[in-house]
Symmetry: C2
């Protein structure tokens, strides 16, 4: 215990600090009561650290966030998100940004993909696909599984893309035969796939679809909206011949919202480079962003727009965690599947129907129909009162009839937090309190 | 001192915690050594707070960031930026977002302006002006004081705006006569003014220009790029008849980067509403964002793209601080002027020339020419080694010849931090070490 000695000073300081934390005159009071602080060479740093800590500002109560994004974020990631200001050209940040770009490649299982990390909601990813890869009048096949397929198509059309939709009933996905039939109709510049539609939790078989698209025409660009999948669902960018995969920071990559994240194949970059029409966007133009991404990855700064320094630092911490926790990323995907299977097995044992059939369901979220006769306001406030936040329905056709549980990132990967057990326990209790009678063999 | 009693438990816990902080088995060790933690009803929260604190994750060294953005950020703002995840439709967040929109109006001194807070770099603000207010072929007068005037014009042209520039030599601004002459040439849909050009620190007389523009044609839209001014320089949105003012979160509003922030007059909103041409953007369209801003301000959630929850919470804290610190916002502007005058007086006393002449210089930053024969690599690394980060030159014509000191936000408003004294002391020392000989009466 010899090394406890230098820390002894901290005891009386912290004792008094607890008194002072809520007092706006704290620094002055500390200086008055603890003159020795001014002579201890470490005291300035110590004081600053205490002051910077969340001890005084954490909210009284935190509710476990189990919606399909934003998700719960690791404390180390949050610390980076709330880190002290750093210049966007500081060598430390340049290295963090560069590493984040490299790590993103590993998470998406690609050797040669070109990553982009841009300040924006994930939504900007649709614009970036449209303005950089689509020329006015070009045909795009939208494999539409719900709300987000509609929105992606809307974005493509703003920039002159002509979309054809392959749709399916709510909560299911187009058949492979329907997709093949659409591909046979005419040649497409691009096919878009919503990997997981956050509105319903329908999962699309990206590998099989990509194979079918490329077999029909290897020049067709395969775009995966992976907002509710990347980092959770299996997605092998190179092996599956994906050309663009996009997501946002606040989903299975486990950082706060505010970053639009993409991976682009060298083939798609070549299509971009050979583009004839002018790029109909300034902020979304890869001509602006590509030199910045290449520069930071080469560990030199470049400027187009000030990057969201702390958010990128947070993403950097999260990506490192992801690849340290399961050095083989396949283990992460498998864990998401196992946890999802468990959630769905438990919910099924309650006698409740899920929005997509199990074989068409995502592993990052679960959409659950309410019991007959029960409305969302009877359930969700009870769940919230028990400290868990779920999402209501989003797909306009069925919105009042179902709720959504998100299970991705830390809540899935860190068993010791008990997030999954807790959400299931709380939802079961709340259903019971709302008058639902469970089957006898309910888990 | 009766109320110290409930805190006594914290003393031995924290003492041991200091031993444990760097140990990955910390939670287990604490549980073993402090079984009483499990019986104290407050212990769970206490432990979580300690765990969430930055005590263990703060970088070893922090350099004082004195560039013209990002700027130093208050610890309470950082705590919000690194806060635990919260749903973007949580009533707590809905209220914070709504308040942030209202507070923004106060900081910009407007009663009726329509605020927008969007996930993006400030750069998106240019796109939003262009895609919502400019129709293809319309004429725009760009009052160009440097790097950022060029960039704004480039963005406007991407969307079909036809720009005419009124330029001035580097480090100075167009004369009022030159602006009047340009206004007399032809009618303009819009005039853009870079309030403070971050590349050189030139300040534009927005009030006088706006008056001149509106006198010539009250229908001309006056747009102020306030990225390096809003929250620091005097800007009276209503009184000066400004139609659009835009900034980013990481400048004088004192939050981390990642938010594009705008204020739009009701007149400009009416021009937007009467727009004939389709809006050539999806992510930048006010048709998408306006209902979201109106909803959150009315304290109901609405969805277009997931907002950057923690960044908006950070901005909310910062805006509250700004308006608490100086309830009359004019006092904040006056303080920025006083500090800027001090910095410029000291730098002048060193015998160094500043980039804009004093009467054309911003109060949020100072651009300083290096002494004859000295290069940036002789100075900036020395400054950095002393714990202060400055920015090099940015305007391409003179980039290697000058450096920039940012002075806005907390570094200006909170004297007790000593940021201004420190940056002046450090730069003076570094200049001396680089071989510069100061005049005898140097401050």
């Amino acid at each position: 215990m010899a090394n406890i000695q230098p820390f002894l000073l901290i005891i009386p300081i912290l004792a008094l600090l607890t008194q002072f934390l809520k007092n706006p005159n704290t620094p002055a009071l500390i200086a008055k009561h603890f003159p020795q602080l001014c002579t201890n060479p470490h005291s300035a740093e110590l004081l600053q650290r205490i002051k910077l800590s969340k001890l005084c500002t954490m909210p009284e109560e935190h509710k476990q966030l189990m919606i399909p994004g934003p998700v719960e974020v690791h404390e180390d990631v949050l610390s980076a998100a709330g880190g002290l200001s750093m210049s966007h050209v500081d060598p430390v940040f340049v290295n963090q940004f560069g590493e984040a770009l490299e790590l993103l490649r590993k998470v998406l299982v690609t050797e040669t993909g070109q990553p982009f990390i841009v300040s924006a909601s994930g939504t900007l990813g649709w614009d970036m696909v449209a303005v950089n890869l689509v020329e006015p009048g070009e045909d795009i096949l939208v494999l539409n599984t719900g709300f987000f397929g509609d929105r992606f198509a809307e974005s493509l059309e703003v920039y002159g893309g002509r979309t054809t939709h392959v749709r399916a009933p709510v909560g299911s996905r187009p058949t492979m035969a329907a997709i093949q039939a659409a591909l046979n109709e005419k040649p497409y510049k691009m096919v878009t796939i919503t990997h997981v539609d956050t509105s319903t939790g329908v999962l699309m078989p990206v590998e099989a679809i990509s194979k079918m698209v490329k077999a029909k025409n290897p020049k067709t660009i395969v775009v995966v909206d992976g907002v509710c999948s990347i980092g959770g669902e299996t997605l092998l960018f190179d092996a599956w011949n994906v050309d663009v995969a996009m997501t946002a920071s606040q989903k299975a990559l486990g950082a706060p919202p505010g970053l639009s994240i993409m991976m682009v194949s060298q083939y798609a970059m070549s299509v971009f480079n050979e583009r004839k029409a002018p790029i109909p966007s300034y902020y979304g133009s890869w001509r602006k962003w590509l030199p910045v991404m290449k520069a930071y990855e080469a560990r030199t700064p470049a400027y187009f727009a000030t990057p969201a320094v702390q958010l990128i630092q947070a993403l950097h911490v999260s990506l490192k965690q992801i690849l340290t926790q399961t050095p083989d990323i396949m283990d992460r995907f498998a864990k998401h599947e196992a946890v999802s299977d468990h959630v769905k097995r438990v919910v099924a044992s309650w006698g409740l129907r899920m929005v997509p059939a199990i074989e068409e369901a995502a592993h990052t979220m679960t959409g659950v129909y309410l019991p007959e006769g029960m409305a969302l306001p009877q359930l969700l406030p009870k769940v919230s009162a028990k400290g868990v936040v779920l999402a209501g329905g989003l797909h306009p056709d069925i919105a009042p009839k179902y709720f959504r549980i998100g299970h991705m990132g830390l809540s899935v990967m860190e068993d010791h937090r008990g997030h999954i057990d807790n959400v299931l326990k709380v939802v079961k209790e709340a259903l019971g309190e709302a008058g639902y009678t469970f089957p006898q063999d309910a888990l």
